[in-house]
Every structure is written in structure tokens, then in C-alpha cells.
């Protein structure tokens, strides 16, 4: 593994059973992702790109192979260890935002910090910084239903980066957004990668969205095609 790589994947496979059929979601994938890279995963539906993203993020397990993130083989961690690891190292951005509807924007962003030992004051500072970074400091008291889709996704991005993780994973983050909001969200992700040095891995169908990344890889039937 090169010292500059944050993610090292070797001979990774994922198979699961759907009814009577064995499905090969990933087949013998090997991949390196460098620190600070903005990698986009592209491919048709069912190609395995989301599965690969989930394994890297530690919310799914491979059938075989190695997935090392920052020198830790996440496939070897138990559930509790994996939960701690995710909290400290991974920020999630989902297609449907997945904000908690009863919490304000501020509280949604603060949520991952409740698992840390930070003081309330320190938590407030970090949340404020994250919201400022996505341009929503003035919307901190709004509930998700009082925000537009683009604003909700920016809150989700703030929540993903509030714990200062090395890795941000985004699963079709622009899928539910209009082009202008999508542009804003992608610009923020690009900024996080280029200026703050976060590694961003994004799954997308949209070539225009993929253009924001520094590298793009394609999957088809669970295999890398380039």
C-alpha cells in the first residue's frame, strides 16, 4: 500500500442470495484511493457501486477480500468496533438526505458528536463551523421540512464533516436535487476534497456530477471496467 493511499482494496468480492439466486455484487475488485482524492463510482444499476461504497464505509461486509481504510482492515472489526470507527472516520451523505425530521438543522449536525466526549461548548463550535462551511449558519434553527432539498443536502454534508472524518462517502447525493442545488452540493464536496483534503467517494449515474471528481471509475456486473 502506498503511504498516500487512504483506501486499499484487494480481491474484494461480495455475494448474496436473493431468493433462489446467488447474486455476485462485486467480483474480485482491487482498488487504491489516495488521500484527498474525489473519486466517483459510476456504472449502471446493479453494477455493485453502492455495495462497494457501503463496504468501504463499513456498513456492509464483503464475502472475501481486504478493505483497508487508514491501515485498518474494516472487514475484521466487530459490529461495535465498526460503529466507533464509522463515527470517527466516515461521513455519510445519502441521496434522500436522511435528516431526522424532529431535529433542527443544528441538532441534526450535532447528532454524531453526541457519541464523542466533546463538551457542549466544543460541540456547538464544531456544528457552527460545519454549517458555516456549507453556507447554512442562518438556517440552524430550521427543521428539515422548513428547508429546500438543496439546503437539506447541505445540512447532511455538514453532518458528514462535523466529526472531521478523513473519508466522506456520498451515495448519489444529487439524485433528489434540481440542477442548481446539485451544483451547490457538488461544489461543496469538491471544496472539501481540494481545499480541506478530505477524501470523497461518490456514487453517481450522472456524468456531469462525475465531472466534479478528480477520478472516475466504472463498474459493470461487479467488476471494474477501467
Amino acid at each position: 500500500m502506498s503511504p498516500s493511499n487512504i483506501v486499499t482494496i484487494r480481491e474484494l468480492s461480495k455475494e448474496y442470495r436473493q431468493g433462489e439466486i446467488d447474486v455476485v455484487a462485486l467480483n474480485n475488485i482491487s482498488l487504491d484511493i489516495a488521500q484527498g482524492e474525489f473519486l466517483t463510482l459510476m456504472g449502471p444499476s446493479g453494477s455493485g457501486k453502492s455495495t462497494l461504497l457501503h463496504i468501504i464505509a463499513g456498513i456492509d461486509r464483503p464475502t472475501k477480500g481486504i478493505c483497508r481504510v487508514q491501515d485498518i482492515d474494516v472487514t475484521k472489526l466487530n459490529e461495535s468496533g465498526l460503529a466507533d470507527w464509522r463515527n470517527q472516520n466516515v461521513g455519510f451523505v445519502f441521496q434522500t438526505f436522511n435528516l431526522i425530521p424532529v431535529l433542527t438543522a443544528f441538532e441534526n449536525v450535532e447528532l454524531p458528536l453526541l457519541l464523542t466526549r466533546l463538551s457542549a461548548k466544543r460541540r456547538r463550535e464544531q456544528v457552527k463551523t460545519a454549517l458555516e462551511l456549507v453556507g447554512l449558519a442562518d438556517r440552524s434553527k430550521h427543521l428539515p421540512r422548513q428547508l429546500s432539498g438543496g439546503q437539506e443536502q447541505r445540512v447532511a454534508i455538514a453532518r458528514a464533516l462535523v466529526t472531521d472524518p478523513k473519508l466522506i462517502v456520498a451515495d448519489e447525493p444529487t439524485g433528489n436535487l434540481d440542477s442548481s442545488s446539485a451544483q451547490e452540493a457538488l461544489s461543496i464536496l469538491q471544496l472539501l476534497s481540494k481545499q480541506i483534503g478530505k477524501t470523497v467517494i461518490m456514487v453517481t449515474h450522472d456524468p456531469k456530477a462525475a465531472a466534479f471528481g478528480s477520478r472516475s471509475i466504472h463498474l459493470e456486473k461487479g467488476e471494474l471496467t477501467n
Binding site: 461495535s80 436522511n98 431526522i100 453526541l114
Partner: protein, 382 residues
């Protein structure tokens, strides 16, 4: 934001459902506590200080069968007997009461009865007046207050058991017994009205000491063995418990209703919690993705479920406690329930049931959350 605040926010996200769920727990536990209080009142004999010394002697065949008045000297001579009085239940219907008179009337020997009813406080001049006039009676304070009776008033009764109607002049008002509702009048007056049949309902005997009481009952039973009127002597406590046993079916009925209430409550809370968690499956998956561990999610679910149930218990059982403390139950129930008290044990029972409900209703959602992976959870409702 705190974890507790987050849990509260989740519990209150559907305010109407939350309110209805808490209300259903509260109403059910209110009903349960009410049933328990009623059951206690119906089956738990009232005890006073003198009850430990009193022995009731009744006909061995049945309580309804009278005893010969000639038994008195025989019982009186039995070692350990400190006092004795006839004690006959008249069971009359007081004027104005159409079907049921909520207080009992007993024919006694006024002089002898005083030794047995040591708890009753009657002013000496009233007592003297009662003893002097064989058509007079003393009335318990609760009944006097309820019917606004005063000394010198007359109380007419229609006989329901005995074929005679009686009218008493109130000579005194007593209080201080465990049940200040009864009317006591002269056995002689009843005898005369019935044509001196030479019988009494029961004998009430006072033992010289608590230790002697069991021996005395044995001696009395033996004294009348193989006579034409065999007796059954027993302590007042045993006598009362004999009455209680007649409520057996009521006990089973109330117990059964209570079980149904608790079971219905369980179904309601399980259903509510399952619904509440099912709706949030994806959110719980998001929390897992953010780093919340399974045990933390379990704690959220348990706290919510437990909170809902105990809040229901607070309003239900607490409400019952408050309500029955402030209501005049003897008046409301026409004297059927003298003391309608929610005991600490009943409150503890209600809160224990609520706690168990909270725990049980959290189990199914917790299993669901444990079985669902983050990826599966995120796909929910997508």
C-alpha cells in the same frame, strides 16, 4: 441537545399518537387500580383493636339458624370468657331506602355489649339513656351524618328477615370503631316484637386474653357438642374471613377483568411501540451509520417505551389516588364502600405493571432493529 432530549423529541414526534397511547395506559391502569381498591374493600375485613379478643358463636348448621337464648349461662361459665352479649342481625329496611339499606342493625344486650365494643365512644349520658329505654338505639356517626340524624329522632325499619317492623328512638351516637355505620338496639325489644321466641342470632364473646381466645373457642364448641343446637365458635377474624370466602366468585371475576385489562394494555403498548419504531427504521439505520451502537439504539427504544408506560401509570394510578382521596366515597356509594383507599402497594403494582409493559413492548422493536443491517434499514421505505 442531549440524548434525553433526543429521546423525548422522538417520543413526541406524533403528538396525537403519544397522547392517545399515554391515555390508554392511564385509563387502563386507573381501571385496574379501581378494581383492586374495590376488591380490597369487598374482601378485606376491617379490623379494630378489640377484634383480636372477640369470638363469634353461631349455629353450626348455618349463620341463618338462630341459637337458643338459654345457652348464655353455659357460655358465661366457660373459663376465660370475660363478657358475652347476644348479637342478632336484624336486617331491616330504613324508611326511604327502597331496596337496600347500607348500614346494619344489631340487637344486643346494651349493658353486656359495652364490654365487647370497647372501641365505641359514646358520651356517658347517652349511654345511660340507651340502657334505660329498651326501644332506643345508638347510631354510628357515619350513618347519623349521612341521614342528618340527631338524638331524639326516630328511625323506622321494615323487617326483611324477621316478620316485624321496628322503630327506634336515637339515644346516642357513637364513633371510634372501624366501621361507624351500624345501629345497635336492645335484644329485648326484638324478642318482644317477635313474641319472645327465646332465640338470638349469634353470641359475641370477649376472651380474657389473646392467648386464651383459641382455647375458649374450643371449649365453647365442646360445651354444645351433641346438643340440639351445636355451635361454631370462631375468632372474629376467622368469622370475617368466612364472609370473605363468599365473595370468591367476585374475586375471580375482578381478578379476571384485571388480567384482561393488563393484557389489552400490553397489546396497545406493543402495537404503539412497534408502529413507532417501524416508521423510523430508516432513521435508526442512519443513526447506526453515524456510529450509534446497537445497545444505544436499544436504550433509545427502551427509554421511549418505558417513558410512555410510566407516564401512563403516573396519570392513571396517580389520578386514581388523587381522585379517591378527594371524593367522599361513602356518600357516593351510599355507604357501600367506607374506605376507598389506593394503598402504596396498589400504586407499586400499577407502576410495576407499567414497567413490565414498557420492557415487553420494547422487545419486538429491539429484535427488529438488531436483525436489520444498516444497508437493509436504509433501503426501508425507499
Amino acid at each position: 441537545m442531549t440524548i434525553a432530549g433526543f429521546i423525548a423529541r422522538n417520543a413526541l414526534r406524533n403528538k396525537r399518537r403519544f397522547l392517545l397511547s399515554v391515555s390508554s395506559v392511564a385509563v387502563s391502569l386507573f381501571l385496574l387500580v379501581t378494581l383492586q381498591v374495590a376488591l380490597r374493600e369487598l374482601t378485606n375485613p376491617i379490623n379494630d383493636e378489640g377484634s383480636t379478643l372477640r369470638i363469634i358463636v353461631r349455629n353450626k348448621v348455618s349463620l341463618a339458624q338462630p341459637l337458643p337464648a338459654r345457652q348464655l349461662p353455659t357460655i358465661e361459665r366457660i373459663p376465660g370468657v370475660a363478657a358475652i352479649t347476644p348479637f342478632s342481625y336484624y336486617g331491616g329496611l330504613y324508611k326511604g331506602d327502597e331496596k337496600f339499606t347500607s348500614f346494619a342493625q344489631f340487637a344486643v344486650d346494651p349493658v353486656r355489649a359495652l364490654d365487647l365494643l370497647s372501641d365505641a365512644k359514646v358520651p356517658p349520658e347517652q349511654l345511660k339513656a340507651w340502657i334505660a329505654d329498651r326501644t332506643s338505639a345508638i347510631v354510628g356517626k357515619m350513618t347519623a351524618d349521612r341521614y342528618k340524624l340527631k338524638i331524639g329522632d326516630r328511625m323506622p325499619f321494615t323487617g326483611q328477615i324477621y316478620p316485624c317492623d321496628l322503630e327506634f328512638k336515637i339515644a346516642g351516637i357513637y364513633e371510634g370503631t372501624a366501621d361507624d355505620r351500624n345501629v345497635m338496639f336492645h335484644q329485648k325489644y326484638l324478642d318482644e316484637s317477635l313474641g319472645n321466641p327465646g332465640t338470638v342470632g349469634t353470641w359475641w364473646v370477649k376472651a380474657s386474653s389473646v392467648e386464651e381466645a383459641p382455647l375458649i373457642t374450643e371449649r365453647i364448641n365442646k360445651a354444645f357438642a351433641n346438643t340440639s343446637a351445636e355451635v361454631r365458635a370462631e375468632t372474629e377474624r376467622a368469622f370475617q374471613l368466612g364472609f370473605v370466602s363468599m365473595w370468591a366468585n367476585i374475586k375471580i371475576l375482578i381478578g379476571g377483568i384485571s388480567m384482561v385489562v393488563v393484557f389489552a394494555l400490553l397489546l396497545v403498548t406493543v402495537s404503539t411501540m412497534s408502529m413507532a419504531i417501524r416508521e423510523r427504521f430508516r432513521e435508526l439505520a442512519v443513526l447506526k451509520a453515524l456510529g450509534f451502537r446497537r445497545r444505544e439504539l436499544f436504550a433509545f427504544i427502551l427509554a421511549e417505551s418505558f417513558g410512555l408506560a410510566t407516564l401512563g401509570a403516573f396519570f392513571g394510578a396517580g389520578g386514581a389516588w388523587l381522585l379517591y382521596r378527594s371524593l367522599d366515597m361513602p356518600k357516593l356509594t351510599s355507604g357501600m364502600f367506607v374506605v376507598f383507599e389506593v394503598t402504596p402497594q396498589m400504586l407499586a403494582l400499577a407502576f410495576t405493571i407499567a414497567a413490565v409493559l414498557g420492557l415487553l413492548s420494547a422487545i419486538a422493536p429491539m429484535i427488529g432493529v438488531a436483525r436489520t443491517s444498516v444497508v437493509q434499514g436504509l433501503k426501508t421505505l425507499d
